[in-house]
């Protein structure tokens, strides 16, 4: 079980990348994801789910996440999320 203790970010807004900004949330608040994506309609749900699951797999239960995605592949999103969580656990 890990806890987010400070705000952190990973990634960029370059094409095929995603900028993940993660911040602490109150215990029990769960993982709140706000996603901005050019493919919101087609993949919005999928990407949000991916971000949530990746964070949970890092052992974090509560977080506030802003994701600015520019056509990134799943493995890129997962990598950026993991790096952001790593930085936020501190």
């Amino acid at each position: 079980m890990s806890k987010i203790i400070k705000a952190a970010q990973a990634g960029t807004v370059e094409s095929c990348d995603v900028l993940i900004m993660i911040a602490p949330a109150d215990p029990g608040a769960g993982i709140q994801v706000e996603l901005i994506s050019p493919t919101m309609q087609q993949y919005g749900t999928h990407i949000t789910k991916l971000i949530k699951e990746t964070i949970l797999s890092c052992g974090v239960q509560d977080a506030v996440v802003h994701a600015n995605e520019k056509g990134a592949m799943d493995y890129t999103i997962a990598a950026r999320v993991k790096t952001a969580v790593d930085r936020a656990i501190g």
Partner: protein, 348 residues
């Protein structure tokens, strides 16, 4: 695909900095005097894109007209954001011309305020400013007259106290904003505490902080560091827009009180612009003559000058008990030392 070279440009690399100035001038942007970090993108030694920042605000960003549509702005912003992140700044602001704001929107920036035809102020969080306003909202009174006073209070003097007392006498509620930016000789937490102590006797005064949104190094860096009149004017207009278009609206403020400004060039300019602009929004701008003690006009600059010259008694005459008591304390003595070691104590 041409070979781009992306690198930092150092302030004392005069030859390359001149290329930066030329590119900025070409794109109609005035280079701010105070920039901490500058970078450029080059093709075979020719500068085709540049970006800089001062503290946590990105400014002076430009891409050569001949190289549009190649994702260069993205590279510039990405580079600057990476450096900002390394410096621990997660909340980043930026200034841009009105016609280029849309490009930054795509790069993850959100508009805070704009001066039509001049400049747009943006930040990298969708809810930064919204949250700031949300935190202010509960202090709004449903009826009656609300006024605002914004003070740096470096330190809090009888002048500040007099101004706030007059506002408190003539209005149902006074919102006093203490400048959060911690660049002044007296640190923020001390300034805020002295304001609190010096206004404790006024029941209708509410204290707030400006955050990054008013008189900050993000909105108005030339308040703290010398710059040209044109730069000061543009920044003042933006700062005033943030106040009148958003903060005053949120709190139902219809009056803003300021003291007459006989000496500081930057504050004088700011006040002049403020009087013009506030009128447009139906907000009264009340300029009060400065408080006199004997035949001395009270000003924080003067207090700092007295302290610097070791004339604590003269400074005592111009500040409330509470401020003087602080300067006698151990913490206060440290600040006195800081003032005495400083070159320039008078606000330009």
């Amino acid at each position: 695909m041409p070979e781009y070279e992306e690198m930092r440009i150092y302030q004392d690399d005069t030859r390359t900095m001149r290329q930066v100035e030329n590119l900025l001038a070409q794109e109609g942007i005035q280079k701010d005097k105070n920039l901490e970090y500058t970078m450029g993108i080059f093709i075979r030694d020719e500068l085709i894109a540049t970006g800089s920042f001062f503290r946590n605000t990105l400014r002076c960003l430009a891409v050569d007209g001949r190289c549009r549509g190649e994702g260069l702005l993205n590279k510039v912003v990405t580079h600057l954001m990476e450096v900002q992140y390394q410096r621990g700044n997660l909340a980043v602001f930026l200034y841009t011309k009105c016609d280029t704001a849309k490009f930054f929107k795509e790069l993850g920036f959100y508009e805070i305020a704009r001066v039509e035809g001049l400049v747009v102020f943006m930040e990298n969080r969708p809810d930064g400013f919204k949250q700031y306003l949300k935190n202010l909202a509960p202090s709004r009174i449903p009826e009656g007259k609300s006024a605002a006073v914004i003070v740096n209070a470096n330190p809090f003097t009888l002048g500040h106290q007099y101004l706030i007392e007059q506002a408190a006498r003539d209005n149902d509620r006074v919102h006093v904003f203490v400048v959060s930016e911690d660049i002044s000789l007296v640190p923020f937490d001390v300034r805020q505490e002295l304001v609190r102590q010096g206004t404790a006797h006024l029941k209708n005064v509410m204290l707030h902080t400006t955050g990054s949104y008013l008189i900050s190094s993000a909105t108005f860096p030339s308040y703290f560091l010398q710059d040209d009149d044109t730069v000061i004017r543009a920044q003042a207009q933006l700062d005033i827009e943030v106040f009148k278009g958003h903060i005053a609206k949120t709190l139902g403020i219809t009056r803003r009180y300021v003291g007459e400004e006989p000496t500081s060039r930057v504050t004088g300019l700011y006040n002049k612009i403020m009087q013009q602009e506030l009128k447009k929004n139906g907000i009264e701008c009340i300029v009060m003559p400065r408080k006199q003690v004997g035949d001395v006009t009270v000003s924080a600059s003067l207090v700092r000058q007295y302290i610097k010259n070791g004339e604590l008694e003269k400074a005592k005459a111009l500040v409330p008990e509470t401020t003087y008591e602080f300067f006698l304390s151990a913490a206060g003595k440290k600040i006195i030392q800081r003032i005495q070691e400083s070159q320039q104590v008078v606000h330009y």
